[in-house]
């Protein structure tokens, strides 16, 4: 799924009420930040939904990660959701640090200006969530950030994306079949 540059205009707005449907299944995601004009991207699996709408998301970004300081300082990020076709790039992003590498350039990921925050969207991802830090009380102790999703968009060209889920040490499970059960749960 190599892709040339796409700009944000091809992205379709996603109602904020549907954001939880992207993150609740637990996919590996990318997280972008920008600081002093320099964008960075990391991989992230430790995230969860906290509220439906406005959508709140909790995530853990280790203070050993280069992105940690940018997230603390700017209080903005983008969560980008990659489909399985990006798996090898996702792992490469996770295997190195923004201290040493311009990861967008190194791995052929395309930063696209976001609408509400300074960090870029990732064009190759099928969904992008523009976030701002709304509560940092648990950052010191647990590296745990609470984010509000301000704007969400999806790539209509990616029809039925399958996400990847990390089981540790580079082992990922890919989405399989979908089942539908009669549920009263949202």
């Amino acid at each position: 799924m190599e892709r040339t540059e796409r700009d944000a205009t091809v992205m379709k707005a996603l109602p904020l009420s549907k954001v939880y449907q992207l993150l609740e299944p637990g996919p590996v995601v990318l997280l972008t930040t920008v600081r002093k004009g320099r964008a960075n991207v990391m991989t992230l699996s430790w995230h969860m939904m906290v509220e439906f709408e406005p959508p709140l998301v909790a995530c853990v970004v280790s203070n050993r990660n280069y992105s940690f300081a940018a997230l603390c300082a700017t209080r903005e990020c983008v969560i980008a959701v990659p489909a399985v076709e990006l798996a090898s790039k996702v792992v490469k992003v996770g295997n190195c640090s923004g201290r040493d590498v311009d990861k967008f350039a190194a791995f052929g990921l395309t930063p696209v200006p976001a609408g509400r925050v300074a960090p870029p969207l990732v064009a190759e991802c099928f969904a992008n969530l523009e976030c701002r830090v709304v509560d940092a009380r648990l950052v010191n102790r647990y590296n745990l950030f609470l984010l509000e999703v301000l704007k969400a968009s999806t790539d209509p060209a990616q029809k039925h994306p399958k996400t990847i889920h990390h089981r540790g040490y580079g082992k990922f499970v890919v989405d399989g079949e979908t089942i539908k059960l009669r549920s009263k749960m949202r």
Copy 2:
């Protein structure tokens, strides 16, 4: 996968260092509590890992859930991980409240005494994590609990369990193929 009673002795201890491998992929789980001698169980998808070891887990249990008061009062729970064969029971558990129903009896789930906490394990689940609340600072505002996993066990009879991941309104994606990539990430 109907199962008659199994007791905790058939469960195998899981090293605490491996707990994150169960939750990081984002499966739907069951959460048990007990209060005044009465055990209850709910479904939960809003959870994430916070630390590897000792394993810390964050989860959101709405104050609209009957389990909320028990978790606040006793500060103990068990997170039980069901395989896809239990999907219909998992949904039934989510469709009603412990206010009205003894869900263990109603849905044929078997409570098994835990080793470190009062809430029961769920015998039919392939993994059970005994947890205690270690930080309740974000409960008032976000219903967000921080748990430490004190003890973990798995059912050796369930060899390659596939988990389910909720996409909203009773739509679940089941684990598909596993891929292995060369990763430096734990």
